[in-house]
């Protein structure tokens, strides 16, 4: 089973984080025989620790350390946000990897094209979908049609939409890969009690452990990455569960802490040689922070839907994903089913008093959609370190500064109108929608890939422009957000990165 490595063993690749990026990269490297130590700040839950209780589970697996600014909703647990995600996995479109060429330079954005094409990414999308068991791909059937999906489809057809599907979800419709088929339990955001939803907790991590090339250290909060005078990283300093500080020597480091923590760690690793943060000669670290254009629209329908009976996201409408300049904004979006528990629904209903309570009482008739759309990068949207506030580890607290771009506001308005029309076409009545920053939390862009080293932090492989043995392996890499929910692309990029690291190692370049 899992082996252990000595702190002074400098032949290991240290992967920081065990979620979609870190868990996948760890397993892919270990499968190739490369020794990996994965440092995870959180603890390792068993399936029996997963309860259908959002508040309880946020305490058990949420990242609840001090933060300032725009709210984020992340996880500190083995599996990271793959424990909380909904499982929707659309691919990027070709033009979304060339947003600068397609949209032009929108005012007040920092749009650039990705340093890779869809042709290069497509084989890795195939591998990612197979790995994750995405419904409707690789001979896997589409997902079960929940009542909420049937509402989405019926309304979508009335609207004239053509691309409506219950496929493209990384939740097993049937037993596969040692995991059961979905039982439509609901509570996907609280972790999947039976492991039907793909999470690295019970896929990538145990598979890596079975290779004899992998060690997972939980409760390991990374404080700093050290480097030498030759410009290479040499060790990772972390605090263990008991608060003891260690340094694990390294051959290479890959960071996948989910955008906020990835930024914070690189900034907290500043040195005389890297005064603005490790790998930040461009000044781009922490900038170009993107979140996706999201909304949540709730409607009371003429009959019962009971959207709690099933997965949160059981299908999507793809017709609005394209770039159609005549809509008045650049990029596109997906309309996806939503569903939520009673407490969260009550929180989404505005106001108080008889009207609000009356809407909440109609819970069984409630229908909902979630939207994920392209959010252009802006220099002003960034993550920085607070100059004086420290957390329990003595680390500077991250400050998240995000404002919606006018393009994103226009897209959100369009999505709210379309979602309202969809529900009204079936006789429904909208009782809640989001106008402004949504509660979706798809973090992207703070160490973006760029052809030119002055435009971003990493190259086309996710390798830091400044430091050859330092990699970034999470959504921080995204050059632009595209419309698609990010996890599939994070996984595809991690598989691709593992191939690259292995190749460089075999050529003794790492």
């Amino acid at each position: 089973m899992a082996r252990t490595y000595n702190m002074n063993d400098d032949s290991v690749v240290v992967v920081i984080g065990s979620g979609a990026g870190g868990g996948t990269l760890s397993n892919e490297l270990a499968q190739k025989g490369i020794d990996v130590v994965c440092l995870e700040a959180g603890s390792r839950l068993a399936l029996t620790d997963i309860e259908n209780d959002p508040g309880l589970m946020n305490g058990r697996m949420g990242w609840n350390d001090a933060r300032m600014g725009t709210a984020v909703w992340l996880c500190k647990t083995v599996g990271g946000t793959t424990m909380r995600w909904s499982g929707i996995t659309p691919r990027f479109q070709e033009h979304e990897l060339k947003p600068r060429s397609t949209y032009g330079l929108l005012d007040d954005t920092t749009l650039i094209d990705w340093p890779l094409t869809l042709d290069e990414l497509a084989p890795y999308y195939d591998k990612a979908e197979f790995k994750m068991g995405v419904s409707g791909t690789h001979d896997i059937p589409p997902s079960f049609e929940t009542s909420m999906y049937k509402v989405l489809r019926a309304g979508g057809l009335k609207m004239g939409y053509k691309e409506i599907t219950s496929a493209r979800t990384a939740i097993n419709p049937l037993a596969r890969d040692g995991r059961p088929g979905c039982l439509q339990i609901g509570f996907c955001h609280s972790g999947c009690r039976i492991g039907a939803k793909w999470s690295t907790l019970y896929t990538e991590v145990p598979k890596a452990e079975s290779t004899d090339h992998f060690e997972l250290r939980t409760g390991a909060m990374v404080l700093k990455i050290n480097h030498n005078d030759n410009g290479k990283v040499t060790g990772v300093v972390y605090s263990d569960e008991a608060g003891a500080v260690h340094e694990q020597k390294v051959r290479a480091v890959a960071i996948a802490g989910n955008v906020v923590e990835t930024t914070r760690l690189l900034m907290n690793s500043a040195s005389a040689r890297h005064p603005d943060g490790l790998g930040n000669s461009s000044g781009q670290l922490g900038r170009n922070y993107m979140r996706h254009v999201t909304t949540g629209v709730y409607a009371v329908m003429p009959g019962e839907v009971n959207f709690h009976r099933g997965t949160r996201q059981s299908g999507l409408i793809m017709d609005e994903q394209y770039h159609q300049a005549d809509r008045g904004f650049a990029g596109g979006y997906f309309i996806e089913t939503g569903a939520t528990d009673l407490q969260s629904l009550a929180g989404a209903i505005p106001g108080w008093g008889e009207e609000a309570a009356g809407h909440i009482e109609k819970y069984s008739q409630m229908a909902s959609v979630f939207v994920s759309g392209e959010d252009p990068p802006q220099a002003r949207n960034r993550i920085t370190l607070h100059p004086s506030e420290k957390d329990q580890n003595g680390l500077a607290v991250p400050v998240i500064d995000y404002a919606m771009h006018p393009n994103s506001t226009l897209m959100q308005q369009h999505a709210n109108i379309k979602s309202t029309e969809l529900f009204e076409s079936l006789g429904g009545s909208v009782v809640s929608k989001i106008e402004g920053i949504g509660y979706g939390c798809h973090n992207m862009g703070v160490a973006r890939m760029s052809e030119n080293p002055t435009d971003g932090v990493t190259n086309r492989w996710g390798q830091a422009h400044d430091i050859p043995n330092l990699f970034v392996s999470d959504g921080s890499l995204f050059t632009s957000s595209a419309a698609a929910n990010p996890t599939l692309t994070i996984v595809a990029l991690a598989i691709r990165q593992a191939d690259h690291i292995a190749e460089r190692m075999s050529r003794r370049e790492l």
Binding site: D53, E304, L345
Partner: protein
């Protein structure tokens, strides 16, 4: 510790981590504080808060006993979070100070007006969030509203109505 105390404590821990109304209070300190204290904020405060809860989220089909249980859990949080106790005191003073008569002596419409007069205050959002979280997290309320609650113990909804819907137009 009795069953109801366990339920109560579980609610508070969940409410605090979920709503963040006591951010900064660590889980460790919570359990320690709970072990040391079972303070009762007083019947008057409880009665006043039940009235406030009913004005915030009125449901005819939900009994006062259910509102009382929810408020009991919220008030117990004051034993472990002094800032939340202050929040409640501020709210009580503001509501009582709205008119010459005390809040509890006002009629329904006047109570509603008193509450509306303070809805912009910081304490209002904290109290609204905790009432909402407690009320709609209560199994008796789930049953009345038609929400199923936890389902894994019953095998989910795959064979219990996950796809059932009978009023949609036929798909083409």
């Amino acid at each position: 510790m009795s069953d109801s105390n366990i339920t109560r404590r579980r609610f508070i821990v969940a409410a605090i981590t979920f709503t963040g109304f006591a951010s900064g209070v660590s889980m460790l300190r919570l359990s320690e504080a709970w072990a040391q204290s079972d303070a009762d904020p007083g019947q008057d405060t409880l009665d006043g808060m039940i009235r406030v809860a009913r004005l915030l989220y009125p449901h005819d089909s939900i009994s006062d006993a259910v509102y009382a249980e929810v408020l009991d859990g919220i008030l117990a949080a004051t034993a472990i979070d002094a800032s939340f106790a202050d929040t409640l005191k501020t709210a009580e003073a503001a509501l009582d100070g709205h008119q010459e008569e005390a809040f509890m002596d006002l009629d329904h419409d006047a109570q509603l007006a008193a509450l509306r007069a303070v809805e912009g205050e910081g304490f209002f959002a904290a109290i609204q969030a905790s009432v909402r979280f407690g009320l709609y997290g209560h199994p008796a309320v789930w049953q009345l509203i038609g929400y199923g609650g936890p389902s894994y113990q019953d095998g989910g909804y795959l064979h219990r109505g996950a796809g059932d819907i009978d009023w949609l137009p036929e798909a083409d």
